[in-house]
């Protein structure tokens, strides 16, 4: 029963940590818009965490630049299990217009497995809400799998 309580809670209280890996700020603004009264992601228990140690969902925006690559990897490692990585916008998936630049090392899935992608440039806040909701369900799934092992 206790285990089930934890499993259910996992889906209901996903805390987000946002990493900007060289984004143009468009997606970042939209992510913040998700927390505003209009979209209010706190309805689903979402909360912006200040440190990767508290996070369940890591939201990465931006193509991974050579400057941010090392920091990104280190920060992703520091997130405790179970964790879900969400890519926000086109850049982390494909580097978008920056692909081929000398300073871009991306895309993100070179370095880690991306669980959920939210497309759009930038994505509409509704899409982000939807993506995060899916990520929360995935989190619960991962938690159950980990608990079974």
């Amino acid at each position: 029963m206790f285990k089930k309580l934890i499993d259910n809670s996992t889906a209901k209280s996903p805390w987000i940590y946002h990493i900007n890996a060289g984004s143009c700020n468009g997606c970042d603004i939209e992510l913040v818009a998700v927390l505003t009264p209009r979209y209010d992601a706190e309805r689903f228990g979402f909360k912006l965490a200040g440190t990767p140690r508290h996070a369940d969902i890591v939201v990465v925006s931006g193509p991974v630049t050579s400057q941010s690559k090392e920091r990104l990897i280190r920060t992703l490692e520091q997130v405790p299990e179970p964790r879900v990585i969400v890519s926000l916008g086109s850049c982390p998936r494909s580097c978008n217009v920056f692909k081929g630049s000398y300073s871009v090392e991306g895309p993100l899935d070179k370095f880690c497995h991306v669980d959920i992608s939210v497309a759009g440039c930038a994505p509409k806040p509704e899409a982000i809400v939807l993506g995060l909701a899916q990520a929360a369900q995935l989190l619960k799934q991962k938690r159950e799998e980990a608990a079974q092992k």
């Binding site: 090392e70 920091r71 490692e77 520091q78």
Partner: protein, 643 residues
């Protein structure tokens, strides 16, 4: 046999000092044997006195050479041990014993160890002689022995920066205090033509206060104030504690300043019997409050572990003085309780500082950090000491501070008008000082034991076992003294507080029955002791709590097997970033928040006050002497105006 024990205890120290010089020059083991023998023997002798004095309520009077008073005049030198003396005697011998054990390892790298131990035992003998003595001039002599041994020990590590300087400061300002005591003794003698404390007490009470007596009281009060390092005589203490070896700093704060406190209690309550005079109470409480506040705020400003502890020592003595100045039985009991606790936790903290110095070679708060990983036991002991001094339950500091607040606030309720507001403010300052104490120990723990480990201290080792044993004993005592206030107050504090007020018994023991009544006429009745509020908590409940906490901590520590432990941070980071410190994604580098940078919000707001404090502690001995003399003049003036 029993009545010979006090003088034997004193002589053991002095004999030990003599023999150490004579025999201990070449052989380490002889030296250690002599020192340990002397300290253990004295401690045992003091313990043997517990039964007749604490439990049976007796007072031991002893005339050296059997020179009992003739024709109503005490010509011989007398020792008089009542519960108050024994209380301090026990503190002194206990501190000396632990410090001696600690010194074995701590001093092992220094040269001239025989001189160290000689001076050490001289100091111990001086303080023990002071608290057991029943003779005013003898007290002066013991103060002198104590002061000069202390000065020499301050300069013991004369290769260290500032040690000679601080010894000189101690000598200069300490001499002012000593001469005040001598002058006060002369004044007293000119009035009553005797030097025996009991007889002085009886005669003074009979004659009432004259100008000479008031002057004598003021001088003696200042003299013992200097020895207790109350503000504004405190800067010498800060320097001396910092530069002396840690084992000696512990002795300083454990017994040397207690000697001053003892002198004050003896003077105010027994010899001059003026605890009923409100103006003296106000003065003592005011001095105590200023002392505790200035001590703690100066401590917030320090960069050096031992200097910070020194200021806390001053601050805690302020608590003791405040409580004693309240002149209620609860206040005296609280003051004595806190004096004892101060010996325990401050000694403990000084030993921790010594262990850090022994292992890391420095006590600079801005350079140290993260030592808890290398010295886990020292860190744990330090946390106990820090919790005790900041008054966190269930350690002893909380219990005694509680009694002091209670006493203060009851005094406030009992007084009227301005006095009640004054005592209420004192209570508030006391509580605030406690929080500030906590703050500065947070600073120490962050800058020394936690935080990041600088590379230069990567190879630091835990302190040796011989140094840890006294520390653990003191830590255990801190907890026990906090958990068992009931038995403590019944068997030690109540007898001591009662002895403080039992002036008639004190006089009659020395001068023969009925002497007090014949000289004083109406004998002051022993004040009723009301300890109803001391039974304020249920130790069992706290023991249960402590066990629960320990069990919970154990479960957590065992339960989290997945978490990785104390590997070298640098190695681990190469393989796995997961266990690296979060640094905003950067590779973690050494970027410690320096000890002096903590609390800048506070320091910014109080910058004018802190600036004033810095200006005050100029480090110039002329200034300190000037402060001392000015304060002395002020106190004398106050006494003449209001007594």
């Amino acid at each position: 046999m029993i009545q010979h024990l006090p003088i034997l205890a004193i002589m053991t120290y002095f004999l030990g000092a003599f023999l150490t010089t004579l025999l201990g020059h070449n052989s380490k083991s002889v030296r250690w044997f002599l020192v340990m023998l002397a300290s253990v023997a004295s401690f045992v002798m003091m313990c043997l006195l517990i039964k007749p004095i604490f439990l049976d309520g007796g007072i031991i009077g002893y005339w050296m050479g059997g020179r009992a008073p003739e024709a109503g005049y005490a010509i011989g030198i007398g020792l008089e041990v009542d519960a108050l003396s024994l209380f301090f005697g026990l503190l002194v011998t206990f501190t000396v014993l632990l410090s001696a054990v600690y010194s074995i390892k701590y001093i092992s790298r220094d040269d001239a160890q025989d001189k160290y131990y000689t001076l050490f035992l001289m100091l111990a003998g001086g303080v023990l002689g002071l608290v057991l003595s029943g003779d005013l001039f003898n007290i002066f002599i013991m103060v002198e022995i104590m002061t000069f041994a202390a000065v020499a020990l301050t300069a013991y590590r004369n290769w260290a920066e500032g040690s000679l300087e601080s010894a000189f400061k101690y000598l200069a300002v300490g001499s002012i205090g000593s001469s005040m005591i001598l002058a006060g003794t002369i004044m007293v003698y000119s009035q009553v033509h005797t030097l025996n404390l009991a007889q002085i007490s009886a005669l003074l009470a009979g004659q009432g206060l004259t100008n000479t007596t008031v002057f004598a009281f003021a001088l003696l009060f200042i003299g013992f104030g200097v020895k207790a390092f109350i503000v504004p005589f405190h800067p010498i203490a800060a320097d001396a504690y910092m530069t002396a070896p840690a084992s000696i700093s512990m002795v300083f704060s454990g017994m040397v300043n207690k000697a001053g406190v003892y002198g004050m209690i003896r003077l105010v309550y027994v010899v001059f019997q003026i605890m009923d005079v409100k103006s003296v109470n106000y003065l003592i409480v005011l001095l105590g409050t200023i002392t505790m506040f200035i001590g703690v705020t100066s401590a917030l400003n320090q960069h050096d572990f031992k200097r910070l502890l020194a200021f806390h020592s001053i601050s805690q003595i302020g608590y003791v003085i405040t409580a004693i100045g309240l002149a209620t039985s609860l206040g005296i009991a609280g003051g004595l309780y806190h004096a004892m606790n101060h010996t325990l936790f401050k000694g403990l903290l000084f030993l921790c500082a010594g262990a850090v110095f022994y292992s890391a070679g420095t006590t600079d708060l801005d350079r140290l950090g993260g030592l808890a990983k290398r010295m886990p036991q020292t860190a744990a002991i330090f946390l106990v000491g820090a919790a005790a001094i900041s008054g966190i339950p269930p350690f002893n500091g909380f219990a005694s501070k509680w009694v002091i607040y209670q006493a203060c606030y009851e005094a406030a309720a009992a007084a009227s008008g301005f006095a009640s507001i004054f005592y209420a403010v004192v209570t508030i300052v006391g509580l605030l000082v406690s929080v500030m104490t906590l703050a500065s120990f947070v600073k120490v723990s962050q800058s020394v034991f936690f935080g990041q480990l600088p590379d230069e201290f990567d190879e630091v080792k835990e302190a040796p076992l011989l140094m840890r044993i006294p520390m653990w004993i003191m830590a255990a005592c801190c907890l026990l003294a906090g958990l068992l206030p009931g038995p403590l107050s019944r068997f030690a504090l109540q007898p001591a507080a009662a002895a403080t007020l039992n002036i008639k018994g004190y006089i009659d023991t020395m001068m023969g029955g009925g002497y007090a009544a014949s000289q004083m006429g109406d004998v002051t009745p022993v004040a009723e002791l009301d300890f109803s509020t001391i039974g304020y908590w249920q130790p069992v409940a706290w023991l249960v709590l402590f066990v629960i906490i320990m069990a919970a901590v154990l479960i957590v520590a065992l339960g989290s097997q997945g978490a990785r432990g104390n590997k070298r941070s640098t190695e681990l980071e190469k393989v796995d970033g997961k266990y690296a410190t979060f640094f905003g994604g950067e590779h973690s580098t050494y970027s410690m928040v320096g000890g002096s940078d903590l609390f800048w919000g506070l320091r910014y707001n109080l910058r004018h006050y802190f600036g004033f404090l810095s200006d005050m502690h100029s480090g110039v001995v002329n200034d300190y002497a000037l402060w001392a003399v000015t304060a002395a003049a002020g106190i004398i003036l106050y006494m003449f105006l209001f007594l």
